[in-house]
């Protein structure tokens, strides 16, 4: 997608720390550039909303942006929200340089099912690609064959591929 370096920032992952390496391995060929993992220097607790028991994703994006230049992808297991919605799977700056994904509601066990690590990784890759697509200015795509398709249920994520459709791919400004 871009030859520039992508900074992957894992935080609040608890028992899911082991997902970072395979996530980076899956992202690297799709992004066409370097991917590096850097621990955060910010304090996610500052984005905690006590009344909702969730983390404000907009505030977390702001903290990530203050950490330095370049595109950054936050990866967390914290439950994220934006003020008007009950939850989000992730958030990104449209046409910006920060994206954030949470695996909190991607876990099968959140829906009363058995843990499925392979499925969780698939979902995480798709959500990461989706949010990174937003940072490149892509909006939601109606195509069933595109990772930019909007997903408001976790089952929606399972139906889409982890790649951009030809139309969205062509719109990426600095694709390689």
């Amino acid at each position: 997608m871009s030859a520039a370096v992508l900074r992957v920032v894992p935080f609040g992952l608890a028992a899911h720390q082991a997902l970072v390496a395979p996530l980076v391995e899956r992202l690297r060929p799709r992004l066409g550039g370097a991917v590096e993992v850097r621990p955060p220097r910010f304090d996610p607790a500052l984005a905690f909303d006590r009344s909702r028991g969730q983390y404000n994703s907009r505030q977390l994006l702001g903290q990530m942006l203050e950490e330095g230049p370049g595109r950054a992808l936050g990866v967390t297991a914290l439950d994220l929200f934006i003020p008007v919605l009950s939850f989000v799977f992730g958030e990104a700056q449209l046409g910006g340089r920060a994206a954030l994904v949470s695996l909190h509601r991607l876990r099968s066990e959140a829906y009363g099912l058995r843990p499925d690590p392979a499925l969780l990784l698939d979902r995480l890759v798709k959500e990461a690609m989706h949010e990174l697509g937003h940072t490149h200015g892509l909006v939601h795509c109606p195509g069933l064959d595109c990772v930019m398709r909007s997903s408001t249920y976790v089952e929606d994520i399972d139906q889409k591929p982890d790649l951009f459709c030809e139309s969205c791919w062509a719109k990426l400004p600095d694709r390689t």
């Binding site: 909702r52 907009r58 929200f81 934006i82 003020p83 008007v84 919605l85 009950s86 939850f87 989000v88 958030e91 990104a92 449209l94 937003h134 909006v139 939601h140 109606p142 069933l144 064959d145 398709r149 909007s150 408001t152 249920y153 089952e155 929606d156 399972d158 139906q159």
Partner: protein, 446 residues
Amino acid sequence: MSVKQGSILVVDDEFSMRDSLTQWFREDGHDVVPAESGEEALRRLGERAFDVALLDIKMPGMDGMELLERIRRTHPETRIIMITAFAAVDTAVAALKHGARDYVTKPVDPDELSQVVARAIEDAQAAREVAAEPGRREAALADPIVGQSPAIQTMRALIAQVARTDATVLICGESGTGKELVARAIHGASARKHFSLISVNCGALSESLLESELFGHEKGAFTGAQYRRKGKLEMADGGTLFLDEVATLTTKSQIDLLRVLETKEFTRLGGSQTVAVDFRVLCATNENLEQLVRERRFREDLYYRINVFCIETPPLRERKSDIPLLADHCIRTMGQKLGTRVTGLGPGALDRLVAHSWPGNVRELANAIERAMIVASGTRIEAGDLVLGGTEPADPAAGESLVEMEHQHIRRILEQSQWNISQAARVLKVDRATLYSKIKRYGLHR
């Protein structure tokens, strides 16, 4: 979900709400303009048109209710959705009575918000398309029926006669004969024409879904019912309720419907408060209801309640003199959609259309014309462009493989549910994942 892109005015004095709404809808590709007060919102509306305005109810200065009234007066084309905190739900209900299209309670479920706004955008854009041609809406509502044959003239006279009254009408006829058009014609010529015509396809919904669809539900009424939703009965208040495929109602649904028709009152699922409504009822069926009554599959009391006045839609084989007019109408309406150069029929083509028996009626004719317009190489449909016979057999199962039947059934249910995947999956009794994979396998799209 896939949505039609539109223009949205977001009005909220609280920056975090305004900002999160703006960003959320921009990711869908909508053209979003934020405003931090009612005064700024009116200025923005003075500069340009919006499909949808999302209004926070509680704002300093001009609050959401006052802004709602002002927008309704000055920009009736803009659909208004109120945003409210849970504690102000009563105010949101009052807003609905004053013309708001819908309301959401924050924090709202992402799917709920997307669907509410998508529906409002579609509604606004459809209304604008119709308004673009003065008089077209009135004409379309008053007489959407094409044809001059004696059978159609008789039906028109009956429609005009019954439209003046508030009587319940039963519209009977074979599939594809235009029963819904008759319902639209009755509503459009009635005193209720300035209110909504709400259609419910009883055959497309399971018993529990139909119940929820008709009566609406309170928050927590059943698993997944996170918010209160208005039912079709409430939406039809003041207007007309059209119940298609009424013969498919289950025994329980028949009892529920009879009670509502008798009392014009109902209770939302999970609720205790009685809601009073005033609507006219039109029903349609392609089955012999009298026979179903004799077989005790349809309640006799409900039959007499809905069969106050009966209109029969004639099959196309009994009005073949209308085929040239109908074909011309199809070519004009489909031309833009298909982007073809076809403007008419060659003489040989018309002969073939008139000679065919049309077991699938006008729907079959429209399909045949559409298919021919796609394959036609010139500006006219020629005889060889038409594929007739077996295109839509009277018995839809005849000659079709199991795979083809599944393909067509899924397509039909998706169309009936307007591509609401969750709703279609419930009707088909499969999970959404299965439905998505079948959509992909059959290459279905909107």
